[in-house]
């Protein structure tokens, strides 16, 4: 089923006719955009579309080259190359560059009808795969087995753990558990809790770690697993309180477990205090700025790779959007003949985002609009600057 489509063409009349045809294939709220300018098309975000029809030859660009670029950015999107020629070389080239279908440009009503039937068939197949459970690639496994296997292999991975009610992350670096977190807790306490979610049988996905994660767990993985097992036999007895986080009830939206607001763990061994307003205050050294309460935050390096982060529901997407904005603002800086941006705030009705850039990367923080103040945003910017040093 078509939800959002894009037609990239230099032929206006064809675009209008095809747009109407595509809309007839979509759901009630389906949207089909038309772009006649290839350079502007390069500024679009292709993964927001589930179908893109692209001319083989555009006015200012080779459509097959553009296809290659767009397919890299949006591998899940279905691409159809529309051509005025039907030679086998073009067809082969299109498929080689990532096209899902090669279509001869329709000129008659019958031609459009046939083309739309073909597109409908393609989207049908696409829909089937999209409607498969999002647990694809994630099996229902025992979490302790997974942790043990990964640690024994000396792997560096981020395990994304999902139970029926909540989700969390376990960071394993070079065969040791370095950090664990879920909304409301981090450190060993979070690890022990996660080991017992849904009886230890959870949906788990792993991502390769290319950086050293923050270390909040010093205990060896063997001891952790043993302790978790013992705790289970004691009916989930008292967990070690290390690294426990505070959640601000009343102020914090906890509707979606994947994006609920938690506060960063204070440094180990230090006390946590809460201000009159209910916000967390860190009793850290007076020269250091405390990180304010955030929905989520992360950092990418200048290659767009995720370096670190907290409470990201989809780490890859988070890294992508930060890198996308960084690249776009680099273009703006060149156009305005100024240095690269130092910080960028996006104000929305529900969320505010602050991006802070330095010569090592970009930090991206997401705040809840309802309780964000200018002071908190500035505090985050200052904290980011201090991390750079």
């Amino acid at each position: 089923m078509l939800h959002q489509g894009l037609i990239l063409t230099s032929h206006r009349e064809y675009a209008q006719a095809m747009r109407l045809g595509l809309l007839s294939l979509g759901v009630a709220q389906a949207r089909v955009d038309v772009e006649l300018d290839a350079l502007r098309a390069m500024q679009l975000v292709p993964h927001q579309y589930n179908l893109i029809l692209l001319d083989q030859m555009l006015d200012s660009m080779d459509g097959l080259q553009l296809l290659l670029l767009l397919k890299q950015q949006a591998p899940a999107t279905k691409f159809i190359i529309v051509s005025d020629a039907q030679d086998e070389t073009s067809r082969a080239h299109a498929y080689q560059n990532g096209a899902d279908f090669f279509l001869e440009r329709p000129h008659t009503t019958e031609g459009f009808r046939t083309a739309l039937e073909a597109i409908k068939g393609l989207l049908g197949r696409h829909f089937d795969t999209k409607t498969m459970p999002d647990t694809l690639g994630a099996a229902m496994l025992s979490i302790s087995d997974i942790v043990q296997t990964r640690c024994l292999s000396g792997d560096s991975v981020l395990l994304l753990v999902r139970s029926k009610k909540q989700s969390g992350d376990i960071f394993i670096y070079r065969g040791e558990v370095y950090h664990a977190q879920y909304p409301g807790k981090s450190g060993e306490a979070a690890f022990y809790d996660m080991m017992h979610w849904d009886g230890g049988h959870l949906q788990i996905r792993d991502l390769k770690l290319s950086h050293v994660p923050p270390r909040t767990i010093e205990t060896s993985y063997r001891q952790l697993l043993e302790a978790a097992e013992k705790a289970a036999t004691l009916d989930g007895g008292t967990r070690p309180p290390t690294g426990e986080l505070l959640v601000l009830s009343g102020e914090v939206p906890l509707a979606a477990s994947d994006s609920s607001v938690v506060l960063e763990a204070p440094p180990r061994g230090e006390e946590v205090t809460v201000s009159q307003s209910g916000r967390l205050l860190e009793p850290s050294a007076p020269t250091e700025t405390a990180i304010p309460a955030l929905n989520s935050h992360w950092k990418i390096n200048l290659m767009g790779e995720l370096v670190e982060g907290s409470q990201m529901s989809e780490p890859d997407r988070c890294a992508f959007i930060s890198y996308f904005i960084y690249r776009k603002l680099a273009d703006v800086a060149v156009t305005l003949e100024v240095d690269y941006f130092s910080n960028f705030t996006l104000f929305g009705p529900h969320l505010q985002q602050v991006l802070v850039a330095d010569n090592m990367g970009v930090r991206h923080g997401v705040f809840d609009t309802a309780w964000t103040t200018e002071d908190l945003r500035n505090q985050y910017i200052q904290w980011c600057c201090e991390q750079s040093f």
């Binding site: 927001q48 776009k328 703006v332 705030t345 104000f347 929305g348």
Partner: protein, 122 residues
Amino acid sequence: MNKAFEQIALIEGIIAATFVSPEGKLLGWCSNSAISQEALKFVAETCRVILSANRAEQRFAETGVIAFGDRTLVFREGEVGMFMAYLDSPTNDAVLVWLWEQVNPLLDAEGVKLVVTPAESA
């Protein structure tokens, strides 16, 4: 829209400003420096793309403030297009409220209504 931008050019700190339609058409602009119409259009289009990318990530935003050293780029998207101003100073929330107080009536007179946040209406 030319009249509005004649006035916007007089606002303190404004280096350049523009208003582009959702289709990317430049509907009005002013510049107190050598920044060209095309450059402004490109920058506005890039800002629009950033907002669009954010929407695709389910993080809706209508206003952006970018600090380039001591200069600031401010943009805000409405239903009929996007307003963008390039300022020769850093900003804070109070400056932004002040800026919108100056700009909104001028755009309003041209039939353009931008979002007014609770902080600005207070």
